[in-house]
Symmetry: C2
Subunit: 203 residues, 2 copies
DNA sequence: CCCCTAATGGGTCTCTAGTTCCGTTAAGAT
DNA sequence: ATCTTAACGGAACTAGAGACCCATTAGGGG
């Protein structure tokens, strides 16, 4: 059942194959917005994509494989870290980019689907893990620059600061189901900053 | 399809009914540990519980209803907040109790299942939300006591402090899939405390 | 202790997700 | 332009989840 759910590795990656892949991933997102991961059926995805369901089953391992591939695709589009010259502004920008991601209808539904898939599927878990590892490493640079500018104490763990900003937003989204708005995001950034300035993120 | 998934409201809550309910919820947890929410089938639960599957379908709306009921059940067992006289110790105790919950095989699997179910099911989402609302309110008292003792500044939002402690642990568990250990939990408590002492949780 | 009926359980039926088979289409090499 | 074969798609098939019917069991009131 080990299919290469990436385009890379296909023997004939010409126009049709690429078109089918794009249509299927697009349709997957539409279905996720409508029915969530639990209600995602390969059949519906194939129909919406205007593609034979045999094709979908051949190229992807299952519903979890679909969302895992989608996540891998999105990982390549993730943005570079902010560099405004002020750590306060950079962290604020980070919090707002997380907010934008989880409140966007398509992206938010996709993220929740991957997270749901990751609770039971190894492939989805790996895709998710890779995505955030990359994101945390990227935005950690903002913290490193701030340390060099003297805005934050030497030894501050940048990756942990970035995690600390996202964590409360995902916690609300996934666990307590409280609404996540701009004020929540900004508070999260501020709190992480205060803790960091006071040396709470030194190893 | 509106079934009363609680014992309350049943006309004849005698020995057998209670036994069936207990056996089914017990079996549900076993199945969750083995196969996760995605692989939870009413059929398997009924078989493991030694109960007719008709009975399970009659009393619970579906797989999501089962885990929602399980969560409601667990909500009644949640522990009271710590009161050691030191906010540092109380918050540490809170972080460790979260750690214990998510690392326990049965409880952890159940929590992840409810969280997965909540991404697509309203009932599960409500059960989850209620559980954490109660927990946050309960442990928020530790913070209120600390304010009265002068350990934390006046106006500190206790509920937010408690959320700030749990958030990084759930973030790792659900999103980044990094391991969650004792050191992680203690750091989380410390960081929230540092931020709180410096007024980051004043409204 | 006996009766009434709420509650359970076995058996069956249906419907849909997922699988397989094989003919058809179109990349892309020569 | 033409040929080879990777990739696609329609259709039939299988399995398992969930719904339903009706006979059986056991609370709990009288």
């Amino acid at each position: 059942m080990e299919q290469d759910s990436r385009l890379a590795g296909t023997v004939r990656p010409g126009g049709r194959t690429a078109r089918v892949r794009a249509a299927v991933l697009e349709a997957t997102q539409d279905e996720l917005v409508l029915h969530g991961f639990h209600g995602l059926s390969m059949d519906a995805v194939a129909a919406r994509a205007g593609v034979g369901k045999t094709t979908v089953y051949r190229r992807w391992a299952g519903a979890a494989g679909l969302v895992a591939d989608l996540m891998t695709e999105l990982a390549d589009q993730s943005a570079a870290h902010a560099d405004t010259g002020s750590i306060e502004e950079d962290l604020r920008a980070n919090a707002l980019s997380v907010l934008a991601a989880i409140t966007d209808e398509r992206l938010g539904a996709t993220l929740q689907a991957v997270i749901a898939a990751a609770t039971c599927d190894k492939e989805a878990a790996a895709a998710l893990s890779t995505f955030y590892e990359r994101r945390i490493r990227e935005w950690g640079k903002s913290v490193d620059l701030a340390i060099r500018r003297g805005e934050l104490p030497e030894g501050t763990d940048g990756h942990e600061v970035i995690r600390a900003i996202s964590a409360p937003l995902y916690y609300r989204l996934l666990v307590t189901k409280e609404p996540v708005d701009k004020a929540t995001a900004e508070r999260s950034a501020t709190r992480a900053l205060v803790a960091a300035r006071n040396g709470a993120f030194i190893d």
